[in-house]
Symmetry: C2
Subunit: 278 residues, 2 copies
């Protein structure tokens, strides 16, 4: 894989993290930060943040209600249920999610834990890059996917300017790319990319943070994401979801962009592959 | 998964080993044991041992010729080629393999490295259990798949009677089970199980070793192996091949058999899953 990319890659395997994604970090930090004050948490999520919040709430002896798009992957719904989440289905746009969330909030006493645009979430997600930087010396670059931007912003803060931050984003959801280029935050694209964790728009806190640290964004096509997913499965023997494989796809579709010693955050593995035709 | 099985499981992830399987251990040991004496190695293999021998030969600056059944998985053929193996296709029975191997040996100067029934191979495979026993204290049982028996015999020697050895085997290839029950080594069954790495018969050295240490065999159905493979994929986010998942299948189909602190050797991950229908 190093030969293929032309760089020395070091993977941080958040697909092996609790709940199968880095989201466990932010959710646990956010929940523990208000332990004792709140016992019912609520959020909207396509899956990974919801499972993470349910897991974190369970640790704190609290409940988690998750507003989830009705077209979310069945295995992600199952995962959220397994961790004890109370699910409420909604439409697939951000507006749909926020509408149902507001309505549900009016029905009880909930503390909202947003999926990405919140200091406690960003601080928690940042522990991933913080660990990687402590585990591997002299990294030149740190690559990670960008959706809402919690992981990217947390990584930028953890790197604190000592390492170049490169975010990877699907062409079909290139709002972070266009926002950082234009200098003003743009709305999300329609949720069409197969990288289901990256369909949301970049959050304001995260936009400002990424700008501050001079982060850039490399884009990947859908075909590239699909190919990169299979390549990671076959080369690493680990299950990584398309929203993570976008990083390898962006490296391969932008030759030369990844260089030197490169940390790669494999952000999650919540996809369920099937047996091949063979 | 602990709840499901009713035991405390500790996985040794040989799917993350070089060449994607424990076979790298035995092949490297066998090759290094005759370094300087031989420079062309030959073997027969359905895939994992062949890739391992090619990898080990590459390290020693030697060549590896592999006699491979023509119905081997395409990804295993590809893996052997990637590690530099010279492939010769043959029929799918052990007789077919051995015939072509004999014929090829007559055409040049080759040192045969058999896939499992050889002291150097067994010693190498045994390093896996040896490591696991050093990494996890007070294991009551050690489970691993049995095909030719190199891994099982090596594990029994590494355990040296301090840990119960339980082998898992497909119902459709139950020669090790029947051999240890009857006390005499029986021929292999027709190669029909989906666990393609376990279709070969138990070797003589390995049969005697497993008898000596009082190892037992738990059986698994094809449906159980298939279900257990998907379960490992979804719960561990790692790719494990059916020949490894046979262990979890045998545990679930023989309730109560796995007990206490249980070491599980996930022997390999050389299978290429596809995207699901979702």
């Amino acid at each position: 894989m190093n030969r293929l990319v032309g760089a020395e890659l070091f993977f941080k395997c958040e697909n092996l993290q609790k709940t199968g994604a880095f989201k466990a970090r932010g959710a646990l930090n956010a929940v523990l930060r208000c332990e004792g004050e709140h016992s019912n948490f609520i959020t909207h999520s396509s899956g990974n943040h919801g499972a993470a919040l349910a897991w974190a709430a369970g640790i704190a002896g609290s409940t988690a209600t998750v507003i989830v798009p009705k077209d979310a992957l069945p295995e992600k719904l199952e995962s959220m249920r397994r961790y004890g989440a109370r699910l409420k289905l909604c439409g697939s746009t951000l507006q749909d999610r926020e509408g149902v969330l507001e309505q549900t909030r009016c029905e009880g006493e909930f503390k909202e834990i947003p999926p990405y645009d919140h200091f406690d979430i960003v601080a928690g997600q940042g522990t991933c890059a913080w660990e990687l930087l402590g585990q591997v010396e002299n990294l030149n670059q740190l690559w990670m996917p960008v959706g809402g931007g919690g992981l990217a912003a947390g990584s930028a803060i953890a790197g604190d300017g000592r390492v170049e931050i490169v975010c990877a984003e699907p062409e079909l959801a290139r709002d972070a790319h266009d926002s950082l280029r234009s200098g003003s935050r743009l709305p999300p694209y329609p949720p069409r990319t197969m990288a289901d964790g990256l369909r949301t728009g970049l959050g304001e806190v995260n936009f400002q943070t990424l700008r501050h640290f001079g982060a850039s964004v490399a884009l990947a096509t859908e075909q590239g994401i699909s190919d990169a997913t299979l390549l990671l499965w076959s080369c690493l023997n680990m299950i990584v979801e398309p929203s993570s494989a976008v990083v390898l796809a962006a490296m391969l579709e932008n030759p030369g962009r990844a260089a030197g010693r490169v940390g790669v955050i494999l952000s999650g593995g919540n996809v369920l592959p099937q047996f091949g035709a063979g």
